[in-house]
């Protein structure tokens, strides 16, 4: 899961990035509207956390730009503007949700999960693929009668694969979804994660399609 965090306040940005990384998200953090708009054009994100009061280009402008391109990426606005009119403007500009500062980290996380769930057309809070059940709130994966809380990276990997059961994802694709910018990625990082998961749940949990990549079975 790759998130774009647009926040110009260094302290808030730093804390959010730190916490969300801990949740297993790959987080790219930008501090102004122009860079945010550029990043959204170039990169594929699963969700945007967008502050409104930004230098160079306001959050609303960034959001309008995104929606103009028919990009349906979920957008969660994080702002200090709490007037009803501000919320209406934000939501009408195409935001999916609106959180007013100061907010609790747990709420941001819950809303991110809810938005991602909705994006994947999922009604249930837990993800299911055949026998495998992944709970985004607790990062618990149960498979083959075994239930365990995953590490942030393991969870991120499983989440990516279970999002599109049956689809094969290449190693670079997975890396991109799991790691943010400026993160040192060892060449075998994905393999190490898969190895760890297979050790816990058995080889079948993740299938390897040689030459192409990895997938989880639909059934």
């Amino acid at each position: 899961m790759r998130l774009l965090l647009v926040e110009d306040d260094p302290m808030i940005g730093e804390s959010l990035r730190h916490a969300l990384k801990g949740d297993g998200y790959a987080v790219d953090w930008v501090t102004d509207g122009d860079t945010a708009a550029e990043s959204l054009e170039i990169e594929q994100y699963d969700l945007v956390l967008l502050d409104l009061g930004l230098p160079k280009q306001s959050g609303i402008e960034v959001l309008q730009g995104v929606r103009k391109r028919k990009d349906a990426i979920p957008v969660l606005i994080l702002t200090a503007r709490d007037a009803v009119s501000d919320r209406v403007i934000g939501l009408d500009a195409g935001a999916d949700d609106y959180l007013v500062k100061p907010f609790a980290l747990a709420e941001v996380e819950a809303r991110i999960r809810a938005l991602l769930r909705r994006k994947n057309g999922q009604a249930e809070p837990v993800m299911r693929c055949g026998d495998a059940t992944l709970n985004p709130a607790t990062k618990e994966l149960s498979y083959g009668g075994k239930a365990e809380v995953l590490s942030a990276r393991e969870y991120a990997l499983m989440h990516c694969l279970m999002e599109k059961p049956g689809a094969v994802l290449s190693r670079p694709q997975l890396e991109e979804k799991i790691y943010g910018w400026n993160e040192e990625v060892a060449s075998n990082a994905v393999e190490v994660l898969i190895h760890q998961l297979r050790k816990k749940y058995g080889t079948d949990i993740i299938r390897n399609i040689r030459g192409l990549g990895y997938m989880v079975a639909k059934q």
């Binding site: 260094p10 302290m11 804390s15 102004d32 200090a80």
Partner: protein, 447 residues
């Protein structure tokens, strides 16, 4: 409490009363003069008539005949009323031949014509004619005259006094009516809430009250303006307070989740920095509130700006050294001005703090105070990021931060500087720093 209505009524009535008294006084004096002339003429006429009718007098003298109807006069010792006269006739032997009031022993006067004489403690007026065979003397006590004049004056003053209550009532009503617009205005003001600051209507307001309403409206407008600014400021302040509080909230949650000691240590440090930032913002907000021109009531005292700036610069020495910034100070001439010393200290501190904050390590900050011909200039220049010309006006706005700066400023530092400078009628200019790098802020205090 003074009442215009009562004051006007009393003063108008007093003026009317005084006027009536003056008129009566003049009338009294005039009438007295006229009466005197009239009575004198009367005295004279009687005397002359008596002279012409000497035969009659002779007759009176010979027969000592006293008319029957004059009998009562014999015993009378006083003359009452203005129609009564004392008539005395003396023969050539200076014997009193006749007296209309024998009981009154009024002396014979020597001088011819009109004479004033004191007799038995009262003033008399006589007309004397010396004829060949005697003296004719007609006299009248003046009191009789004045009592008549007084009576006349009284008759005159009574109606004048009687009109006062009627006039008073009319004045009372007229004043009440003309003060009605004031009552309308006060009612209109009374009905208002503290936030409705629309101008008062000037329709039907008399010209005398127009300026008052005009000034009131202008005051309302100014009030509305500053209220708007205050509201905007409160909204901005609330907004700005949210950011550091959000940071603290997040930092606290990150701290709670920390798994290792190193992580915990790091999170604690960040939380402390976040709290420090909130404290700084609160302090700056408080300072700004205190430095608002309307709020400043501290006395202006002579302040040696060179001494003050040197002291402030010294306070930043440790901070500058820690950030490897070359901090310098210079002063020239007698730099004493009068001002609010606390405000000026805040001004200098904020400028130096800003300069150090926005100057990267290895840069320099210079503080200078110089006395010029018309102004004392305080200059703080740095080799920092500089302020683009387009933003130089806006940096004095509250909560304005230059885009692209990552320093955790409150956006209030220069707004506070501006407020203090305004309070001292000083002008602020932002210029390029030395060699076109960085920023130089100059505050010119008029001398």
């Amino acid at each position: 409490m003074t009442s215009i209505r009562r004051y006007l009524l009393i003063s108008l009535l007093c003026a009317l009363l005084a006027g009536s008294l003056v008129i009566t006084g003049f009338t009294y004096l005039n009438a007295k003069e006229e009466m005197d002339e009239l009575f004198d003429a009367h005295l004279k006429q009687i005397a002359l008539t008596l002279k012409r009718q000497q035969e009659a007098v002779d007759l009176l003298e010979k027969e000592h005949a006293i008319p029957h109807d004059l009998d009562t006069l014999k015993t009378k010792t006083k003359i009452k009323g203005e129609e009564e006269f004392l008539i005395q006739l003396w023969d050539d032997d200076a014997e009193l031949a006749y007296s209309s009031h024998p009981a009154i022993h009024y002396p014979q006067l020597q001088a011819d014509g009109l004479t004033d004489e004191m007799f038995e403690g009262r003033a008399w007026r006589s007309y004397v004619i010396h004829t060949g065979d005697g003296v004719i003397q007609v006299s009248q006590p003046l009191k009789a005259r004045s009592s008549m004049v007084r009576e006349m004056a009284l008759k005159f003053i009574v109606p004048l006094l009687m009109q006062l209550p009627i006039l008073g009532l009319l004045i009372w009503l007229a004043i009440g009516r003309s003060l009605l617009p004031l009552k309308t205005i006060s009612e209109a003001i009374q009905k208002r809430s503290s936030t409705s600051l629309e101008p008062l209507t000037q329709d039907g307001i008399p010209t005398e009250v127009q300026p008052l309403v005009g000034e009131l409206n202008e005051l309302l407008q100014r009030l509305g303006h500053s209220l708007k600014i205050q509201r905007q400021f409160t909204a901005d302040a609330a907004h700005e307070l949210r950011t550091p509080l959000t940071a603290i909230q997040l930092q606290l949650e990150v701290l709670e989740r920390a798994k290792t000691d190193a992580e915990r240590q790091d999170a604690m440090q960040k939380l402390a920095a976040g709290i420090q930032r909130s404290i700084h913002l609160a302090q700056q907000l408080l300072l700004l509130a205190r430095m608002e021109p309307e709020a400043v009531s501290r006395p202006h005292v002579p302040v040696d700006m060179a001494e003050l700036a040197r002291f402030c610069t010294e306070q930043f020495a440790a901070q500058a050294v820690a950030k490897t910034i070359n901090l310098g100070f210079a002063s020239e001439g007698d730099c004493t001005i009068t001002g609010d010393i606390e405000g000026l200290r805040v001004l200098v501190n904020n400028l130096i703090d800003n300069a150090i904050r926005y100057t990267p390590a290895g840069g320099s900050v210079d503080v200078g105070v110089k006395r010029g011909e018309n102004a004392l200039t305080l200059e703080v220049s740095d080799s920092g990021l500089g302020i683009p010309p387009a933003e130089r006006e806006r940096v004095f706005d509250r909560f304005y931060r230059i885009t692209g700066t990552n320093a955790l400023g409150t956006g209030l530092g220069l707004a506070i500087v501006k407020a203090i400078a305004d309070h001292h009628q000083a002008s602020i200019g932002i210029h390029d720093g030395k060699d076109g790098r960085g920023t130089s802020i100059r505050v010119a205090f008029p001398l």
